[in-house]
Subunit: 425 residues, 2 copies
């Protein structure tokens, strides 16, 4: 097959995706993994648990792409129709796979700890079309399946369960190694510069000439995210060293052009940038969150190893907790209120003391939809950051819904902390 | 148009979706809103910023669906090609819309607070194809567009910006009202029973006969989510009262069959179920989180009005914070360790006292990938819940990745709290 463009389609199956009950995170994961090995995902399609719709999607995507990855529809319940459909589609018949059956038994007895006779529907999970190659699902009962290129399109099909951690294991352990063997793949390299403090239009203005100067093989994309903008350069080619060598000077030029707004030249979140700064300085931090309600703590502790620089947080949702645990003065709360510069300053000072840390960041604001007033409308937020010597503050006026206000506040707080650590070493 | 089946396709545009850099939350929102008014989303398709791929997707989805909703590709930067493409596709030419221009100016001057001459690229955002109806985007600079049915397919097309909060405003204020006017829509009603404490197979076994008894117009789906399973009944028909009347006895029967595992008969998260229980009893709660690192606090405070029953949390990531703020005994930490039944019991007692609450829940565990030992492997978690009189504990042995371990721990902690509140008043 061609070295230059191996295309994939991802088909996700399930009514829950089409009524919006479930957010599709599987496709993003699969796309990332395929991209890393140089497979370009051309299309992602979601269809419901509807026989004809699934069948048509197989036809369409098989005709357009070299690789088709299907997730979902393999569970033990009656709404899952994918396996018999695939069996018909590829002209096979269902047979019991003894290896899969042994694995299902093992999971029920040893892992789920539900010994006793397997249910008929669990045994059925060990049935596979006789025309497929079975892919071992170490984490669950539904096996993955690979169907060799056949028929008009000639695409290679993979069918995987929709449970995210099972799908992830199958992609990494089974699908990727087979694709690497099966295809001669091009190199795709992304480099991302992460900016804060300005908008897409201003950045685009700074980068107009730069963008015009890019060769065909390099592409620039703008990815706005919670008030920050990621700038991504993507280069394609056949030889990894050559692609890297071509991309590097452009990426350096890009960083130079936007240096005023540059946060990092890695595609990582602010919580990781802050964590790396703290580790390098061997310092510890803590948080004192009111309006963000633990979201900053969650972002930080979602990173493995964060205990190296993070001691904890006082989530002072009630004023009483601000007063009793963080030592905010009652007088402050009763005169200027919880959403005020003075309160967040006292929260930072209290967190540094209570948590015994080098740096702390504090948030207090009105996230909405209720709780606003004329003087302090929804979206009014005070942030403070400090160490033992110094405290700095920032006021935000946000204008979004609750969820986005919380996300924007957390991103701004982490960015404020980042700048403070750099400036005050 | 037919009363019985108005179908929609959602097309999302953007390379970021195809390399997995962004998770598509827009489609889920749009699907939910369409579903509420009885529009069935048949397909969701994601394509990159590639002219031919977008054009083909318009052709395909326009031929299959009555409504096509396109998001993304309308930003001010050069990677956004959707607007000129739509203009060609529908055979129009781009003209400056004075109303949109006035709105863009207003946003820059009054909201973004970046007065001064608008950039050429910002002015361009006010250009629209002369064949479309402009949809006012109150929250951003890129207008929405509606293209009337034309050509072979005869679908009604909407193009919306991809920024989630802008897209949401346009769907609610512009798209939905127009669809309600344009189509005679069927009624689609979902009722969801939320279970905890067992798996999909066991539930399916309990529901085999029930599922067989369902009429054509009612469908049952199983939606596993962090160790809980949602069971959703969906009914379709032309008359709202009739559909509700037909669905109700089936939904009651369903709840009765799985009553042992039933958490709630509303499609809400555990954090809302717990919040409603607390509000009804006029009680306050707090949390003491180690391994969940603020995720439980975040889930609770993401709900507007949670300050009525939630005072805050001590995120005691470091043992020092467990000891100094929560009063866990040094002796406990040094003998049985932080991940132990005794530690979480002392954390709960400390949280009740420090936060001055009626109920508290505590977590301590090893989320991975590092930090495990033979005695306490990754996935070992202790939970405790209590009030002034009593503390109960639960041990979990999880076997997932860090993110899922955190999510499973939070869900189990909230469920433990729910059961404790019900049992102990």
């Amino acid at each position: 097959m061609s070295t230059n463009s191996v295309n994939a389609s991802i088909i996700t199956i399930g009514d829950e995706l089409l009524i919006g009950q479930t957010i599709d995170t599987n496709s993003a994961f699969i796309a990332q993994e395929l991209n890393k090995i140089g497979v370009w995902v051309r299309r992602r399609v979601a269809v419901g648990d509807v026989y004809d719709d699934i069948w048509n999607a197989l036809d369409e995507e098989g005709a357009q792409s070299d690789i088709v990855i299907i997730t979902g529809g393999l569970g033990p319940t009656a709404d899952d129709i994918t396996k018999p459909l695939l069996c018909n589609y590829f002209g096979g018949k269902l047979v019991l796979d003894e290896k899969v059956l042994a694995h299902v038994k093992y999971l029920f007895e040893q892992v789920f700890r539900r010994p006793g006779a397997l249910l008929e529907r669990n045994i059925k999970q060990a049935e596979v079309p006789d025309v497929c190659t079975v892919l071992h699902n170490a984490r669950g009962t539904a096996p993955g399946m690979m169907f060799p290129p056949s028929g008009g399109g000639g695409a290679l099909f993979f069918s995987l369960p929709g449970v995210p951690h099972e799908m992830k294991g199958l992609i990494k352990d089974e699908v990727i190694p087979r694709l690497l063997k099966e295809f001669e793949l091009p190199t795709i390299i992304h480099r991302t510069a992460f900016t804060a403090g300005t908008g897409e239009s201003i950045l685009a203005e700074l980068l107009t000439e730069f963008e015009k100067s890019l060769p065909e093989s390099i592409k620039l994309a703008y990815l706005p995210n919670y008030g920050m903008v990621k700038l991504r350069l993507t280069a394609r080619g056949n030889n990894k060293e050559e692609v890297e060598k071509e991309l590097l000077p452009y990426f350096e030029k890009l960083q130079d052009l936007i240096k005023e707004y540059l946060v990092t030249n890695e595609d990582v979140g602010l919580e990781i940038v802050v964590g790396n700064l703290l580790k390098a300085k061997n310092k510890m931090m803590g948080t004192a969150e009111s309006c963000t309600g633990g979201y900053i703590a969650h972002l930080i502790t979602a990173v493995a190893g964060s205990s190296d620089y993070y001691k904890g947080s006082i989530i002072s949702y009630a004023n009483e907790v601000k007063e009793n645990v963080l030592g905010v003065r009652r007088d402050t709360l009763s005169t200027v209120g919880a959403v005020s510069e003075e309160t967040v300053k006292e929260m930072v000072a209290g967190a540094i003391k209570t948590l015994n840390v080098d740096y702390a960041v504090a948030t207090s604001g009105i996230m909405g939809p209720g709780g606003g007033s004329e003087e302090k409308p929804v979206g009014t937020v005070w942030l403070a950051v400090g160490n033992h010597q110094k405290i700095e503050t920032l006021k935000l006026n946000l204008r979004f819904d609750r969820q986005r206000n919380i996300g924007m506040t957390a991103a701004n707080a982490l960015n404020l902390l980042r700048k403070f650590i750099i400036a005050n070493g």
